[in-house]
Subunit: 210 residues, 2 copies
DNA sequence: GTCTATATATGGATAGAC
DNA sequence: GTCTATCCATATATAGAC
């Protein structure tokens, strides 16, 4: 037991505070002072543990982004039909976002703020070309084999992702407009695992002629 | 002719510059200096025309938001089936976003930044309850009459909006990941008017049994 | 209407004591 | 490891001359 307890505590409290502060206001809106306050320490100590705002941000964004592209790799690499994989994806991603509904807007905003930095620093955490490209190929195959309707594979995937993620990105507006409580929104998204998949099935399954 | 020309010119150049600066960096990322530079004047003059950053921002956001909810009113109030209205919406909104692809992320981010302020100051510009509520009712009616498949009307609409808007909100990431040029993206979104509607038709039309 | 110069505030970061 | 005090850069905003 070389390490003492106290340092671990502060370090982690800071990171947790930073997480919610950055996600709340983005990099530009976040204040080191707010992070220090939320962590129950002061700015000096904050800089003692983390070099500067940028490095602290990178830790937070890195984690958020890593989650944003969750088990995509394993899902896409695995066995199963397009529809099965789609269902796995929808289920996994919705589960994540129900717990952390502010992730999408945070990630999208920060990428928009500086696409180059994003590209350079976080590219490695990506669902590398291979698995996803192979999945697109699988979609094309199943279309040719008449298993699902023919359309642009890239667009099919765009539709699935859009329906999954957008409700969360637009949540602040949506809830405000419909006066929906957090709990209500959560339930709506939960039932969506089923209803959205039904919608997708209707859209891509070829009806049997009986 | 009371008004002189020069003041109009600067005033408008500032507003135009502010528009792109705010949309680029959001309220927190925008710099009055950058706006002044882009308008070819200096900060003092900027404050001569516009009281402060906040008021300038409100003008910009107001316009952006007004466009974000475009001809919804007229489309929803008009005649036509759910599918026809949906097609009108998709067409109109995609056309707008193809020209101004950064609007969605800007609007969503700023609402997220301060939902209350949004609610108080910009609520009046909304597609007021009546027309939209009636449209949801119309959806429910057509479902009962067996014209389209039965599902949660609110979710159907959520799906349509998601597929329309999300590609733009995620554009920075999307283009970076697929190395897609602006022009390419534009073309993809244009062809989407047709392909997305086809997708939606498959999802909600009840196939005829012949 | 437009500028230069400057006031004022804020926020990130560091020095140095304990 | 944690604090107080302070530095310094930046950003908004204003005063006042032309």
């Amino acid at each position: 037991m070389d390490k003492k307890e106290p340092d671990i505590k502060s370090r982690d409290k800071i990171l947790a505070a930073a997480r919610s502060e950055f996600i709340r206001g983005g990099f530009n809106g976040a204040r080191m002072q707010s992070i220090a306050d939320a962590a129950g320490i002061n700015k000096a100590l904050l800089h003692y543990y983390y070099k500067n705002k940028e490095s602290l941000f990178e830790l937070v964004f890195n984690d958020a982004f890593a989650e944003f592209i969750p088990k995509l790799h394993s899902i896409f690499s695995g066995e199963g039909s397009v529809l099965e994989k789609t269902e796995q994806y929808v289920d996994a991603h919705l589960s994540l976002l129900i717990e952390k509904p502010d992730l999408p807007l945070f990630v999208l905003t920060e990428i928009h703020r500086d696409p180059e930095r994003f590209f350079e620093k976080f590219m490695n955490k990506l669902p590398g070309e291979p698995p996803f490209a192979r999945f697109l190929q699988q979609i094309a195959n199943e279309m040719r084999e008449g298993k699902i309707r023919t359309m642009n594979p890239r667009e099919l995937w765009m539709n699935v992702m859009s329906m999954t993620v957008f409700p969360f990105a637009s949540r602040p507006m949506l809830q405000r407009l419909t006066l929906m409580a957090d709990r209500e929104f959560q339930e709506l998204m939960t039932q969506r695992k089923k209803s959205m998949m039904q919608f997708i099935r209707y859209a891509i399954e070829i009806p049997v002629n009986n």
